[in-house]
């Protein structure tokens, strides 16, 4: 479900009547009534209320265990600009829309049997067509002709983008919640972008935080390049975002202005180097501790781990 769709935003407005849902946020984030999304949402309210009436219980339950990858701004920080306002509004929408998405998520469609070969019989075989090689002589229009048999069903025609399907299949297996995909999706306005500071938690060693220099998009093989300065030495690390050894990826700090190139190789030069990002990580950690007494570790974005964090 598209997080920015009008239906979702209407639910966010409606959720004002459920203090327990947004309880944590009311203290930190002031919801501005003049939000344009809200204005739009009022129009669509009647449509969304159907969903709410049927699924109020479900709405409440997953809200406590929602992934908080997107909540990255400090809650105490005053609203700086429209951009952050809209982002927060989107986050609240997403928080609720996800619950709806989980309700309406269809089960896996049964594997179709298109590619399998049906047991053929001679009777079922189609008679061959004729391919005629013509002449220009109107009296004898046919030079010769051959019987041409019909080909078997084509896997290439049925699945022209086999590589894309392979990627989708593997991503479904490795990223069951879709959180990792959303975090780097081009269509997601809250996605991580080059220039942001990200922290990657792996199953070995300490988490690595650094400025994202580039995102190498290659389906299930998508990777990010992070750069930090440790003990005055520049360190760059590649991480495969769908790797099972990557337990979590968090956005520590968002670049205030979108970078105007996809690969920020100039950040390796001393003039543009961000240097050590530990102070950003520390600020992010302190901001997170507002909500949680246990501020260590990161959100995994994987199934079954979220409950531990909250």
């Amino acid at each position: 479900m598209d997080p920015g769709s009008p239906k979702n935003s209407s639910i966010a407005t409606r959720s004002g009547s459920h203090p327990e849902i947004l309880g944590n946020y009311e203290s930190g984030i002031s919801f501005i009534p003049t939000n344009p999304l809200e204005a739009q949402a009022r129009v669509d309210f009647s449509r969304a209320s159907r969903h709410l009436a049927t699924s109020c219980d479900e709405l409440l339950r997953p809200a406590r265990s929602r992934p908080d990858e997107m909540i990255v701004q400090s809650a105490r920080r005053p609203l700086g600009c429209w951009k952050s306002v809209l982002r927060r509004s989107r986050q609240q929408n997403q928080l609720l829309s996800r619950t709806l998405a989980s309700i309406s998520t269809p089960t896996e469609p049964p594997a179709s049997n298109a590619g399998a070969i049906p047991p053929a019989t001679i009777a079922a075989r189609k008679a061959p067509k004729f391919h005629v090689i013509p002449t220009k002589n109107p009296d004898n229009p046919i030079r010769t002709a051959f019987a041409v048999y019909s080909p078997p069903p084509s896997a290439r025609k049925a699945h022209p983008a086999a590589l894309v399907e392979y990627h989708a299949q593997q991503i479904r297996r490795l990223d069951r919640t879709g959180a990792r995909t959303a975090l780097f999706s081009k269509s997601n306005p809250d996605a991580a972008k080059p220039g942001d500071v990200l922290q990657v938690t792996t199953n070995r060693g300490e988490p690595f935080a650094g400025a994202c220099l580039q995102i190498r998009r290659a389906g299930v093989d998508t990777a990010i390049l992070l750069r930090n300065t440790l003990t005055k030495v520049g360190v760059e690390m590649w991480y495969k975002i769908y790797s099972p050894s990557v337990l979590g990826i968090e956005i520590i700090w968002r670049r205030p202005k979108r970078a105007r190139r996809a690969r920020l190789m100039h950040m390796r030069r001393a003039k543009h180097d961000m240097g050590n990002v530990d102070h950003l990580v520390e600020a992010w950690r302190r901001a997170r501790n507002v909500f949680s007494s246990r501020g260590k570790g990161g959100n995994t974005g994987r199934q079954g781990k979220n409950s531990k964090r909250r």
Partner: protein, 358 residues
């Protein structure tokens, strides 16, 4: 067996002989017809077919050792490196990775499309055992008439690519017309992938053969990437030896990558994922076959897959026979110029729009 020539042939010729128009008569032997069969009509050359089988007495039965050269010896020599069963044709779709038990494995994604057995080659008729496969489909308008006749006789649709896979014995042959699917390979088995590498065009010696090039300075002028001298000096003959590595066309040649593990097979999408990389650009044709340097898959698996194949196409033999009969009839009609009689009227009018080619 051909009669041996008389030993006194030369002697007889030198003596008095009578040559009539048709028959050579000597003292002892006569009545050898003067036909063009015996003489060399168009001069001596090396391509003239041998007029006697000189090796006909060189038999094992005559006490000679088993010959180490010749077709039978060649087959015997290559027996161990010839796979038990045929490989398949696939199209390279691209490169990705697969995660299994926490480990990342780079892999190549191949897709099989309409891979069918087109013909079998036999020891008796062709000198070796092989399976001819075709893949893809081709519009009949782009196929030559001889090949249309070929496909007509086999009862299969015209194929975009044809390739041949040698097999060790007759047991490796498959009925014509059966379709191979990715499950022909067992998960985890090893395969060899043969394909044409990416063409680099005309490349210099540094790129093509890894020559060192020449210095950037010290008086070097306009010769930084040239290959330098090509022939050794006096001791080496002062000439360019055959096979000297020089600039030229690079790439687009057959490359075999051996011992790649099969990671995934999917009949639904036609996908085969194999570990590692395969030569060639995306979209190139890859011949995938059981690895020759590893053990073939278990015989039980081979038998199972062959059986499954025959179950999927229970009437392959009958279809082939039907197609052959039909082909002979049509061929006769074509010879007589009466093919128009059997062509239905709708086949005469060309289709309004050409079919979309994939």
């Amino acid at each position: 067996m051909a009669p041996r020539l008389p030993a006194c042939w030369a002697a007889a010729l030198s003596r008095a002989t009578t040559v009539t128009h048709q028959i050579l008569i000597t003292e002892h032997h006569a009545l050898l017809p003067r036909t063009a069969k015996r003489g060399v009509k168009y001069g001596w050359n090396t391509t003239v077919p041998p007029r006697s089988k000189n090796g006909r007495f060189n038999q094992v039965s005559a006490g000679l050792p088993i010959p180490t050269a010749g077709p039978a010896a060649a087959l015997k020599r290559k027996e161990k490196t010839t796979p038990l069963r045929t490989g398949v044709l696939a199209v390279k779709k691209g490169v990705s990775a697969m995660y299994h038990e926490g480990r990342r494995t780079p892999c190549t994604i191949l897709q099989m499309d309409q891979v069918e057995v087109v013909a079998s080659k036999t020891r008796a008729n062709h000198g070796y055992w092989a399976v001819q496969l075709g893949c893809g489909e081709k519009r009949p308008a782009t196929v030559t008439a001889p090949m249309l006749g070929y496909y007509e006789a086999k009862g299969v649709a015209p194929k975009q690519h044809l390739a041949e896979f040698k097999v060790r014995t007759e047991d490796g042959l498959l009925p014509v017309g059966v379709q191979l699917q990715p499950d022909w390979f067992k998960l985890g088995q090893f395969v060899d992938a043969r394909s044409n590498s990416r063409g680099m065009g005309f490349a210099g010696g540094m790129k093509r053969h890894g020559f060192a090039g020449q210095g950037a300075s010290h008086g070097n002028s306009k010769n930084h990437r040239t290959i330098g001298t090509t022939g050794p000096s006096q001791g080496g003959g002062s000439r360019v030896h055959p096979g000297k590595k020089m600039p030229g066309r690079m790439g687009n040649e057959r490359v075999t990558v051996q011992n790649l593990k099969v990671l995934k097979v999917d009949n639904e999408t036609g996908i085969i994922a194999i570990k590692g990389h395969v030569a060639g650009p995306k979209g190139c044709i890859v011949m995938v076959a059981d690895a020759i340097k590893k053990d073939p898959p278990a015989q039980t698996f081979i038998d199972k897959m062959t059986k499954k194949l025959l179950e999927r196409h229970p009437d392959a033999e009958a279809r082939l026979e039907e197609a052959r009969t039909r082909h002979m009839e049509l061929k006769e009609l074509r010879k007589q110029g009466k093919i128009a009689d059997v062509v239905p009227q709708e086949a005469l009018t060309p289709p309004a729009t050409a079919p979309v080619r994939l």
